[in-house]
Symmetry: C2
Subunit: 118 residues, 2 copies
C-alpha cells in the first residue's frame, strides 16, 4: 500500500510525535513533533525534519549544529498517531550536548544524571 | 534532587507522552500518555500506568490482558515534557497482539508490515 502522510492522525495543531532511535545501538535519543510536510520532507530527503513548536518553523535536525539525523527506517504505529524514526545520529542528539535527551533517571524518588555533555 | 511529578511539563490536557522501551532488547514498544497521578502510580507500584484518552481513565497496562509492563527504569527528557520508561514486557505490547505497536515501515513510498500478531 502506498503511503500518504495525510492518512496519519495529527493533533489539533496538526502535529504527530516522532521518536528518534539510534539504529545502531537502539538508544532512544529524543522525541519531537512533525507535521504532514515534515513527514514528507523526512521521507523525500532522508534527513529527519521536525516542526519546531517554539520557533513555529521546520527544523531540519542538525542543520545549524551539524548533528544531523540520517533516516534509516520510518515506522508508523498501530493507531497511526505516533512515528518512530530509526536514524544514524551524528554527534549528540540533545541540545545539552548529551547523546540522548533522556539522561535523567528517577530512582528511589531521586533524580539521577546518567550522562554528561560530550 | 528528589523527584516531584508536578515539575514535569504537561499538555493543556494535563498529559505527557511516555515511550515504552523493552529493557532487554531496546525495542520501542509503544507510546501512550500519563498524567501526574499516572506518573506517581507508575513509580509507586512499579507497574506502568497510563491515562487512556479514549476511556478517560487510568490504564494499568496489562490489567485486563495480562500483558503487563514492569518498570525497570524511569527517565525524563531535557525539556521535562517527555518520558521514557524502560520495561519488562509480558506478552505483546500492542493491542493487535504484536510485540510492538511500530510494526509498519514506510519504504520506497510503500507501507510494509514488519511483524505478525503473536
Amino acid at each position: 500500500m502506498s503511503f500518504d502522510p495525510a492518512t496519519l492522525k495529527y493533533s489539533d495543531q496538526g502535529l504527530i510525535p516522532a521518536i528518534a532511535q539510534d539504529d545502531a545501538t537502539g538508544e532512544v535519543l529524543m522525541m519531537a513533533w512533525m507535521n504532514a510536510e515534515a513527514v514528507r520532507q523526512t521521507l523525500d530527503t532522508g534527513r529527519v525534519t521536525y516542526w519546531s513548536r517554539s520557533r513555529q518553523s521546520f527544523w531540519v535536525k542538525g542543520e545549524s549544529s551539524g548533528n544531523v539525523q540520517e533516516l534509516v527506517d520510518f515506522r508508523v504505529d498501530c493507531d497511526r498517531d505516533c512515528l518512530l524514526v530509526r536514524v544514524r545520529q551524528t554527534g549528540p542528539a540533545c541540545h545539552t550536548n548529551r547523546r540522548s535527551c533522556f539522561y535523567t533517571a528517577v530512582r528511589d524518588g531521586t533524580e539521577v544524571e546518567l550522562m554528561k555533555p560530550e
